[in-house]
């Protein structure tokens, strides 16, 4: 990772405008920003999947990441956490490299990324959220269990604490992952498709928790695949398709032109969404 000099601090409290690559970013105090990405490029087998991404995410916002399949949405999340090698650019979490600010980031991976037959129960998984704070070799204490229990209560999964994780529905599994992230007690949350394949009750429970986190000043970055709901769920949207197509307040970037740019030739989805947009805005 090459550490370029951070951008110069600009005037504070400036409204976040729609950004397209090439424009200079309006910068708030860089120390206050939960997430700052500069010229980020990530490649798989030398083929770039993310290209020159610049982002400055302000505090206390619900940010949706949308884009077609293969747009690099999950890659962006992983790159932020240093799970992938960067070809160029840098990422800063609250003004520091990720490695020195691990505890301030909570992570909800894709549900399919793990083996649900693994011999652990719900409580074991949620306790894993405390591991980062415990440090090497230390066992979870009574206080950690108490926190894990509270987090399970928040996602309404406390009655299932002793269940083996294979005996849960998809929505319940997703809520366990959410509880684990809550147990991390972080300031910035990165969530990879938390709404994929969940039931309506889970979806509304997750939305409720996202708003609760936001009201406590937390920042959330959420990979999302459903355009119509994206419009209602998020304050800011990142439109991504290998490059940053647009980043800004939802009402400003959720429009036909930018979505078409993001989704390219996929007009069937686009026309549907465009209709939905027109109906809602007219």
């Amino acid at each position: 990772m090459s550490l370029a000099t951070p951008p110069k601090p600009g005037p504070e409290n400036r409204e976040l405008a729609i950004l397209t690559p090439g424009q200079t970013a309006p910068v708030a105090d860089p120390r206050a920003l939960p997430l700052e990405i500069h010229d980020l490029t990530v490649s798989y087998h030398r083929k770039p999947v993310l290209w020159g991404i610049d982002l400055q995410v302000p505090k206390g916002k619900l940010v949706g990441i949308i884009g077609p399949n293969g747009a690099g949405k999950s890659t962006l999340i992983k790159a932020i956490m240093g799970l992938l090698p960067l070809s160029s650019g840098w990422v800063k979490i609250f003004g520091e490299p990720f490695q020195s600010n691990l505890r301030r980031v909570g992570y909800v991976p894709q549900r399919e990324s793990v083996d649900w037959d693994f011999p652990v129960n719900v409580m074991d998984v949620v306790l894993m959220g405390r591991y980062g704070r415990l440090g090497l070799f230390k066992r979870p204490k009574k206080q950690d269990r108490e926190i894990a229990r509270e987090c399970l209560e928040k996602v309404k999964m406390l009655p299932y604490a002793d269940r083996q994780i294979a005996n849960l529905s998809g929505g319940q599994q997703q809520r366990v992952f959410l509880a684990r992230a809550l147990a991390q007690e972080s300031d910035l949350y990165l969530m990879d498709e938390p709404f994929a394949g969940v039931d309506a009750a889970t979806e509304s429970a997750i939305v409720e928790i996202m708003h609760e986190l936001k009201s406590r000043g937390k920042t959330l970055l959420v990979v999302h695949h459903d355009l119509p709901t994206a419009r209602n769920y998020f304050d800011l949207l990142i439109l991504l398709n290998m490059r940053l197509v647009a980043f800004g307040p939802t009402e400003e970037v959720f429009n036909y032109e930018l979505l078409q740019k993001t989704y390219g030739g996929r007009l069937t989805i686009l026309s549907e969404v465009a209709d939905a947009v027109r109906q809602k805005t007219s």
Binding site: Q99, L102, Y107, S113, M128, F137
Partner: protein, 488 residues
Amino acid sequence: MLRQPKIWLLFALLLAGLLPAEAAKIGDLTDTNVLDQAWRFFSLRDPSLRAVLLGSVLLGVTCGLLGSFIVVRKMSLMGDALSHAVLPGVALGFLWNMTKDPVAIFIGATIAGLLGTMAVYAITHTTRLKEDTALGLVLASFFAVGICLVKMIERLPTGAKSGIDKFFFGQAAALSTEDLQLMTGVTTVVIAAVLLCYKELLVSSFDPGFARATGLPTRLLHHGLMLMLAAAVVIALQAVGVVLVSAMLITPAAAAYLLTDRMHRMLVIAAAFGVASGVLGAFLSFLGNNLPTGPFMVLAASFLFGAAFLFGPRHGTVARWWRQRSRSQRVERENLLKAIFRVLEDREFRGEGATLQELCALRRETIEQIRQAVRALRQHGMATFDEAGEAVYLTPEGWQRARAVVRNHRLWELYLTNEAKIAADHVHADAEEIEHVLGEEVVRQLEKGLAYATRDPHGRIIPSSAEILQDDPGRRPAEGMVGYGRKT
């Protein structure tokens, strides 16, 4: 710690059952009986046997603990590849000073094992080949090199008596003091590592991405685990042999995986199974006048796995079969209860109980089948059976259950026709299945959703839950009340 006492009972049975058979087969112990031999083996008086026993215990613990992580990380094939890859290292370690110096062999084997894993890594990361192919390649080529070297050593003047061939199938009796010291060292390190890094190993095995995101050194953990695995394979070589050592890693852990849903219990059970297989294998080999130990240890481990596979309380085949059987029997009983209800309903709940003839006609079964089914009902206290008069009378319990099943059936039919808009003549078959699985909570919701309707799509009355609950089986029905099919 162990909540499956049945397994231990089974293991004891295996011991009791197997020993005489084995002794008779191997058969060169004609004068001494098995019990004397067992006493000699387990009493710890004979120093060489003590070494064998200690070696088997250490081996079992190490293999069980590491094997558990190998299994849950889906790295079982890696264990296999590793065990074959160490052979050239063993041979080279031997060639170092032409003796079975445990330290030289240990170093040689560990280096060869690590070279093998590096080769796998290099192949998967620089070509399009996937890991299974890379493992197969490395396993075979390293093993071939090893066999060539071993055969070469055997042709050397000092080689023939060296006992290097024992590394193929293992010989616990050949364990030297140095071997045991090495085994103790490796086992101590493994136990300490598992105790200290339990939570790190757990999270990095379950969700490596999350583990790295929380700052755990997952690569370091992985390499550490591979290093311990290589060491475990090497210390197990002498006793189990190259060919079967991976089975000692995987089998006890796989058996434990079938018996529990918690990682820490899996570790304990796997270690216990490892020890049991190791000791039993060594003992059987001793009974057979020092036959190769490896196959016997693996045989014992496989037997334990078979027992777990068949008799595991939750995931076992027998338990699953039993659950299915009792469920289908319940369905049978409920179907008969429903038939009795229908017979009574057809005559508007007047008169005596249902006769076998009537039930035959309704169920389209033979009288013998019905008789059997009625006996099952009687066994469960749902009905009384007048054998001579060939008539069935429901007990209050039976009456309540019969009406509940009929209610479920008719409610579901009504739900399908009203809510899902399915034609009334299409809904019966589906309701036949659903009536047995509807829980009381769902029934309440259905009743509410259907506005407490009293008639099903075919115009028959749906018994209501409120009514059914009033007929508490504890309370006897009022005298002369019709509908139970009881003799008055």
